[in-house]
Amino acid sequence: MSSSGRSVGASLDLHAVLRRDARFSLDVRLRAEPGVTWLLGPSGAGKTTLLRVVAGLERPDSGHLRVGDATWFGGDREVPVEARRVGFVPQSMALFPHMTARANIAFGADPTDPLAAERAAHRFRTTAFLDRMPRTLSGGEAQRVAIARAVARRPAVLLLDEPFSALDEELAAELAQEVVQYTEEEGIVTLCASHRHGVHAALPGARWVVRAGTLSALAS
């Protein structure tokens, strides 16, 4: 396994300090064990920034990020975005608009596993609309494709930014359940930012609240 590779059962240890401007700064310490960690809190509190720091899309001013034995950030070391085994689903989903759902899922699929894309497509039940273009998909279908695309990479850490925000209660609960199941079966860390507490209140996982750029554990 490479230092930035996939490590099943690995925990995530993050300390990130980031001062962007006078209005926004982030100072978080988070230890996440395999399973889903729910990040709650209002919009603009720093949930998205935290996920982006883990993905490598934002560089903290100081701190460290370790996944299992591998250091992704800290000291002199910084593993580039491309080499971190993350599956990232932004709030906008950011599907490639000129590709079918199938091509979206296959685009970054693990090259060492020829069945990774197909499994991901099945796992998140996208097979009925694989040949459709993103603009023709409903919110729920598009979200499933975005998550399938992220997991086809077989990530060590799955990062979901408000994946249920555009879905109705029933669809959101169903998808949240599937995310939990997938995470547990794969033994990976999933960080899921979600302000819709009701959708996943009954599901297992640690709960943290992000407020004004700081993080505090929420008693279950």
């Binding site: 993905a55 490598g56 899309l57 975005v81 491309e82 080499a83 971190r84 085994r85 993350v86 599956g87 990232f88 689903v89 932004p90 906008s92 950011a94 599907l95 490639f96 608009p97 000129h98 685009f107 970054g108 695309r149 992220a150 990479r153």
Partner: protein, 216 residues
């Protein structure tokens, strides 16, 4: 070679050259905006605001027989740049450059940055992101710039005349032939060529309009 055919050939090579220079520069400018990108943007667009004779003058000064580059080129390839078809291609490329650059830059600017970020998190190499994501998403804008650049290159007069002269069959393009025909009192020939150039220009703009309609 008849002036119209020559014009067409020169404009084709010139547009290709302009695209090869402008598209990578536009892409870099869109991804790394800053002072360097602004300078590149101004330099590639300045032919739009300069009189074509000034462009031709610069080309002649930089690449003419008396210049270091021009002399070195002639030593290596056994032929000069000035007063050849190559000179005409360079002049036309310079006039096509602003349209290709500006349209491509706008097209790359419009690509959703979160799509590119996701592509990076998928571990895909930058070159593949460029070919598979950025280029297809910016394609319509780039094509529009290339078509406009081609139309502009096809009609160049001043810059071509300065660097390439007016050699029948070799550098006498349709625009120059119109001037010649008027000078020699051949109104019918001038009229024929002018109508052709107008028709081609109209066809380019019509194609552009159809393209943008299809995009919507």
């Amino acid at each position: 070679m008849p002036p119209l055919v020559l014009s067409f050939r020169i404009a084709l090579f010139a547009t290709l050259l302009a695209a090869l220079v402008a598209i990578p520069l536009a892409h870099r400018g869109a991804r790394r905006p800053g002072i360097a990108a602004r300078i590149v943007g101004a330099v590639t667009t300045v032919p739009l605001v300069l009189p074509p004779t000034v462009l031709g003058y610069y080309l002649l000064t930089a690449l003419g027989p008396g210049s270091t580059v021009g002399a070195a080129f002639e030593r290596i390839f056994g032929a000069p740049i000035a007063f050849t078809e190559l000179g005409a291609v360079l002049a036309a490329a310079l006039t096509a450059l602003p349209a290709v650059f500006q349209a491509s830059r706008a097209a790359f600017d419009e690509v959703d940055p979160s799509v590119l970020e996701v592509a990076r998190t998928l571990g895909v190499r930058p070159l593949r992101v460029f070919y598979s994501i950025e280029l297809p998403l910016a394609r319509a804008g780039i094509v529009a710039g290339v078509v406009l650049g081609f139309a502009r290159a096809l009609g160049d007069f001043g810059a071509t005349m300065m660097i390439a002269g007016n050699i029948p069959g070799r550098t006498r393009t349709a625009s120059i032939a119109i001037y010649d025909a008027m000078q020699s009192g051949d109104g019918a020939e001038a009229n024929r060529l002018a109508l052709w150039l107008t028709g081609i220009g109209f066809a380019c703009l019509f194609a552009l309009g159809s393209l943008s309609r299809r995009r919507r």
